[in-house]
Amino acid sequence: MVINSDTKISQLLKEQPKALEAISRLAKPLQKLRNPLLRKLMASRTTIRQAAEIGGCSVEAFFQVLRPLGFKTDVNLRENVKAHTPGPRPGWLKTLPDRQIHTFDVRPMLAGGQDPLKEIMAAYKELSPATALCIVNTFVPTPLLRLLENKGALTYCEQPEDRLTYSYFFKPSGNDVKDTSQQLKADSRKDLITTVTQAQFQEELSRFNPADLQQADVRELEMPGPMQTILRYLEQLPKGHGLLVHHKRIPVYLLEDLQASGDFRVLVLPVSDTEVKLLLTHNDQLKWQK
């Protein structure tokens, strides 16, 4: 099997069960994969690159332990191997004096096998407005970033060296809080609807167990039948399940409704002038936290 940094952990495990042992030995956080429940939750949603960030190791380290198990690495996609590259420091961080940044190094806790989430949340809560919390650890804590962004924090991550990440969480003062959280809400709504390529669409589809993926073909329905059908499906769609819709066109009025409600994420794959595929899932950003 040819793999690259975008290959899912679940695909690796399916191809070669021995990969589990190899990967979980790479880094402490990856030992979670040995837990069947967490494995089921994570493996289908995590790519090698994401796992490398969580584990605080390089993608190449994954390739090194996987090659002996018969996996071939895709050299064409090497550019994806590069580590997290952040943009320049945002304005709020540049102007923030050092004494207004509280640093919290969670590496010892992580090394001791403890989950520092509770402590981080408490530290953020105690933060006075217009100051920032700086979390030091070995990987980009994406779920944490999203979690605190939803609480109104402005976030920024930088990786001065391998296995060292500074994540800044700025607590806006008074009036800013509402503005930023609304801004973030609006931004996250804009991100709900995305068009994708065939390959990306297939990749997203492969995240779902066949049993968790419902399908609706509305191409032959008379308007407004397609929209009614899709909304009925969505009403009953369990969390974590996906709905694959075969449509004749991009259903813009439906998308406007879904965007307004903010409850669903939509991937749009325009196949041809008369065929569009949609993948709809609950908009539950925090479910990847574990």
Partner: protein, 436 residues
Amino acid sequence: MAKINIAKAPVNSAVLPFYGIAALFFILLSILLLFQSGSLTGGYFNFHLLSIVHIAVLGWLTMIIFGAGYQLLPVICERNLFSEKLAFVSFLLLLTGVVLLAAGFWCTPSLGAVFPVWGLIGGGLIFLSSLLFVCNVAGTSKICDSYSIQKNFILTSAIWLCWTTLAGFLLAWNLRYPYISKDHLELLKLHAHMGLAGWFLQLIIGVSAKLIPMFLLGKSSKNNLLTKAYMLINAGMLLFLTDGYLNGVTDRAIIYLILLLAGIACWMLYLKDVYNNRIKRPLDITLRFTGLSFINLGLTIAALILIVLWRPPIRSQIIYGLLAILGWLSALVLGMTFKTLPFIVWNGHYKHLNGKGKIPLPKELYRQNLLQLQWWLYLLALYGLIAGLLLQLDLLIKASTLCLIGTSLSYGLNIVIILRHKTIFIHATTPEAPDR
């Protein structure tokens, strides 16, 4: 059976000019109304008022209906527009015709009360334009075997439009070269109602019976209600016109009005059925305009009944016309424009896209806050005008027409924003965030 195919939508040039010019006429009409607010408190046979009314019903409302019709018919009928060329010619004819006719009315007082020949030509051009519209409607819907009742309403309304414009042309001829022995003002009533109940009402019934189920996500199996409405309204109209032409408008008009109202009631029952069977979803501001339009239709009918039964002073007829044109019809157009135009433009930009990225949705093609502004200014303008007319407060009338100008400008600005939209498609090339 799949009935809707967006691939059949006509090229934008057959549709978009109508929207742009209609917005211009709306702005023009609100400005003229400010300078002629005095004529609102007089009788309805006033050349300046005639000019404004024709700008409203032809330049603003009919113009936009033509555009929306050319877009909607191919989509409903699953076939290409019969002729995009004819559509564009009808646009040129209507535009030139309205300019000439409205200017003709406007200038009549300064030409020694003689209606100019070029105004007459304008009337003729409008008639030709409406003929072309009928050709396109008939040609497009000919082979379409579905939605027969909706289609019948739209085609019949287009034919009524032809009769209305022809009658208008003959009346204008009479203004210049008097030849009709009957009372010109009585015939004007027939002409006006051919337009209101024959053209606008039936067109709205036809289109709403198709679109409202789509927007509310409801449906009704009670198509027979629409058939009844069709027969009642057309019977009432034909009787009213025949009797009115032969004997003048008498008390018998009440009978025809009852037929017409029964027809409207059937249509309302149909919509109520749709509404009851809908899926609950957020009602946006465009649908609020639609709801307001129905309230204004109710007020229009109430005003009409009062006029027929009690014959109140002359300015009540102005209020009736105002409620119908600026209340019922304009509210509908002010909202529905933002359900149709962004979608048309969106299709032109995003129908063929592919690859990964974010696409704006039709409602992101215009400014929501501008639409909010339009809503509040419109409410102030319409009900301020009516209150001002009822109480005869010139200051209130003036202030309301200022609000109307504000309404038309915010509407026009939004139209410009939509028409000038540039494709925004952000190709995402950076790797996705780990949390997808």
